[in-house]
Symmetry: C2
Subunit: 346 residues, 2 copies
Amino acid sequence: MSAKKTSLKDIAQRAGVSMALVSYVLNGKEKESRVGQEIAGKIKQIAEELHYQPNHLAKSLRSGKTHTIGLIIADISNPFFANIARVVEDEAKRNGYTVIIGSSDENAEKSRDLLNVLINRQVDGFIIVSSEDSAEQVRDLQEKNIPFVLLDRYFPDIQTDFVSTDHYKAAFNAGAHLVKNGYRRIGMIAYDSQLFHMQERIRGYVEALTGNNVPFQKHWLKQIRISTIEQGVKAAIDEMLAMEQPIDSIVFATYSLAISGLKYINELRLNVPTDLAIVSFGQAEAFDLYYCPITYVKQPIGLLGKTAVEFLMKKLKHPQAEPSQILMDAELIIRDSSKTKQLVHT
Amino acid sequence: MSAKKTSLKDIAQRAGVSMALVSYVLNGKEKESRVGQEIAGKIKQIAEELHYQPNHLAKSLRSGKTHTIGLIIADISNPFFANIARVVEDEAKRNGYTVIIGSSDENAEKSRDLLNVLINRQVDGFIIVSSEDSAEQVRDLQEKNIPFVLLDRYFPDIQTDFVSTDHYKAAFNAGAHLVKNGYRRIGMIAYDSQLFHMQERIRGYVEALTGNNVPFQKHWLKQIRISTIEQGVKAAIDEMLAMEQPIDSIVFATYSLAISGLKYINELRLNVPTDLAIVSFGQAEAFDLYYCPITYVKQPIGLLGKTAVEFLMKKLKHPQAEPSQILMDAELIIRDSSKTKQLVHT
DNA sequence: TTTAGTTGCTTAATCGTTTAAGCTGATTAT
DNA sequence: ATAATCAGCTTAAACGATTAAGCAACTAAA
């Protein structure tokens, strides 16, 4: 049977000294606290022998710091977020922090639950990919003075720390790229969401058209309810193709939309890009393996994650500092799914 | 500025009673502890007003239970594991547990680090997807009497709780399916790993051939080092095709191998399934979107995750009980990538 | 009238740390 | 000779909860 875990007390007893001394030594405070060389050595040795491992709970209770951060993401099964999680975890570890991940599944209620659970667990701060209708939660955190950094999605009318891609610019580039390659009837399938990043992607797309002499038509933009992606996307594509002047290309505003869309496009036996050119947000193996590799917006995942952790660390050190905010550029990875339009003779 | 968090003491003071009473009431022990109706009501009300949230650290320190479980998975960027993580998280939450996820990246050292960090944090138990060379770590846990359940991968010569797919049977079915559909030169690309689940997949594949009158040839089996997937897979495929009697079909033993393999097959402009039929382990959008949808082994992710949590809960309640072990059946999802071989006239 | 039992509450130890404050004896300064 | 300084240690409170044990006042039984 396993011996009980060794505590400071055990070491103190063995060494015949008080717990205080042991604590000082094992925290490297021998100098400041004037601990004798000899006894310090002895303590260290005994700690070693007994495989002493400090109890984080007790430490945290005393210090008020858990060295734990809560990461709330919108959907762990989305490879973009899964990879963000990985980066954040690694980076946090490098800073001596542990991460507790929670997936809100794009659901404000679940997100609030997660926040509460993690606040109870005394996490030191949060990194959050906000879900719809969660502005209130963000304000709550501010009122409670709980440090946090918003990741990928932020609220323009709330002053917070955030790290995000420049969604507007990314969408603009995606749209402009299609125009440049000869497409003139460019649709977008997006979520029906008030979240700012989605609005920005839509705005970027619209302005890419209008800014390049392609008058935007309202019915080119389809906004899908997040709860019914599958049917929504099908209906949207059907409509886009049934128009008098059918769409010749689609920008998908997210990875999940693209997956649903491409499946349906396959079902319809449409050819990419001759029947329909495609550009999508998100990135994943699926895009590489598609018979015609998909042009996509590549967000700087590593940098996003690292910077979010960095900002949070800064915030933890200086809670009253001005918010740090940064918008990063996405890269448009150009593949065959959007290649220059071949004019067909009629 | 935020008022300090309210503690039992605050409530006690306001109510003019001792902390003990407050604790009894808020833990629903009013009856056993003979707390007066009146004061109980008052306490509850004050707790409400002050938005009392118990401090988990203190609770845990006292009780020795953190209601936290550590989930160590081999690779969070693999969709199979990401989904497992999601299921485990949900199921744990339903049981009142929080999950701390760590990705070992198939690396024994990282896995050991994670274990140590989480043990320090006093997690109550672990769910582990073991990585190579981590048998020692498993034995350590047993010696320390730390409850854990192995998930997806287990060690046949260590008596532990585990929840796994029947990898042998799954691979056997995959191989037999190819034989049945007319393929006779069936290759396998697997990892060069001693992990039992990989050995079982290989064994299943081999026996599917020999058991169905297709004499297995040693050079049909390629084992790739996990550190060099990309090149390894390319070389393997090259060799398979350069044989005097080239391979006509491949079983990929994991999702990552399949992704690399399919990319290369695309590069080579080979047609699936006419040039090369494919069956793979793992599941993901990529397989659905492939121009010729990929036949794959679908593991019962939801059930695996739920059962792992269930087993761990059981273990936490009855640490000395006999290990619970279960092997679940995978389902072979048959698509076009392995469809009946068309004989070509020579 | 004593005894026993019940009700409603408080006291204080405990979990494993950290750390300010205090104590002792030796050395140095005046 | 006395005071001040310093090195090297100990004491004890605190973090926020839980809970066994005990105490006082009252009721009911003998």
